[in-house]
Amino acid sequence: MFCLATTTITALLLGIPPPQPNPYFPTHESVSKDTPGHATTEVRTDVGWVGPLQTFNVIVLITPDPEWHVYWKNPGASGMPTEVEITTPDGFVVGQPMFPRPSIFHGEEGVTYGYSSAAAIFIPVTAPAILQDGQLEFEVTTTWLACKKACVMGEKTNTVLLSTNKVYHGPLHRDLQLSRWIEALPRQLDDLEGGASIVTGNTLHITGETEMRPIRFIGVERKGIRFGYSSEIIQNGDSFRLPVPIHVDFSAIKGDKLIVEGILMFGRKSDDPSYVVHLILDSTSNQHEGIGN
């Protein structure tokens, strides 16, 4: 606080804009040591209002207490995924949450994936074709497991009000905070030069071009899909091919489609690029191949 006060006063005297707190990492003043569940949640949307058939995002910012962490949708060797459930008015359709790039934690218990600082989860919601002018309420319940040396389960329900317009789509908010959160989301693999993925036999092959290292893939395990450890990256200049062993078991699921999903990460920093890998495997296909992205 002393630093901030001194710097601000000095900056004002010299006519320089004072430094702003980094919204990406919470200050100690905003995090309570006795926070129930050892994490806080805040919720907002990314539009001024919503119009018919418009897709917008409900954004949950989860902030673990200092020295605590919560988990990605695949927590890894232990933990529990952070989950978000949205109760919407009639007609709204909720999509799959998009998680920011996780950090990798190496512990004696194994490798886990999650967040030790604020993480913004985006959940797409699509409005129905018919809306009236007014205001609607969305209930957002977030559940998590926060761990340090021990673990604590947490749950919080936030309410967000959103204006509706029966004709016009609402404008996207354009603020620095939102921009930074969007930057932290993995991009589509299409956006990567040469980015592609394919499953042949028992291997998921991910290709692309980058000069960044290391290159890592973390799969999201679901029923019917298990990922092995990919120890070998085939590189040729900036081009790479990352083969990931997978075990596919269609008998473990109802239906004939399996989703192969994960995140491809370059570098080690939280703001280094990452990409979504997403394929659908069809059991009716002779070769069990899927081509995605």
């Binding site: 000095t10 989950e83 512990g107 473990a252």
Partner: protein, 234 residues
Amino acid sequence: MFKPLITISLVVAMCALPVVAQPITPRPPDAKPTNAKDKKIAEVGEEAPQFELTDQFGKTHKLEQYKGKIVVLEWFNEKCPYCKGVWESGLVPTLKNELQEKETEVVYLAINSSANRPEEDVLESGAEFLEELESETPMLMDYDGAVGHKFGARTTPHMFIIDAEGVLVYSGAISDDHSLKEGDKAETHVLRVVTQLEAGEEVSPSYVQPWGCSVKYERGGGKGRRGPAGRPGR
């Protein structure tokens, strides 16, 4: 005139540094990476590792004594909110009741490999938790974690199911109800697997990623004193 200006500049520079510096990548907890190269972990489809452990009543349990029966192992730690939750929500008690109604005899054993507290505390605390729930489920003490490591138990709870021939047929989550909202109504993978075994069907899926706290295995040097397993008077 320059001295105060230099001082102010230095203060500004020192205070501004965290703001202009690159965001700090969250640093993982200090620990050695896990190395399972030297540890043979049980695989589904193979014979389950044999063990001999003592429960909170002082009774010894050997896996081989349960041949001919289906054995359900739950890695347990009442200090883990998720593990505690599956018991207190009624999920495990209801599951055990449902398993008792099966034609094939099913044995349900909890195994406690926690070693982040003195062994006596692990024993007493776990035993009291089960007593308060009026459960006589044996809680087998695995303080050195040898059995946990053989099975590859990662979380509490982490379920392992062994068929009547002694083959490991399932490893993984107890259910898909991560938030415990369904309580005792939650469908469990355990009941599903036992039903498949009784029907002579293939156990599928035989693995579902387990959720929960990490098993608190003994680290270098261990924690607290080792003591006799089993409680006096029972």
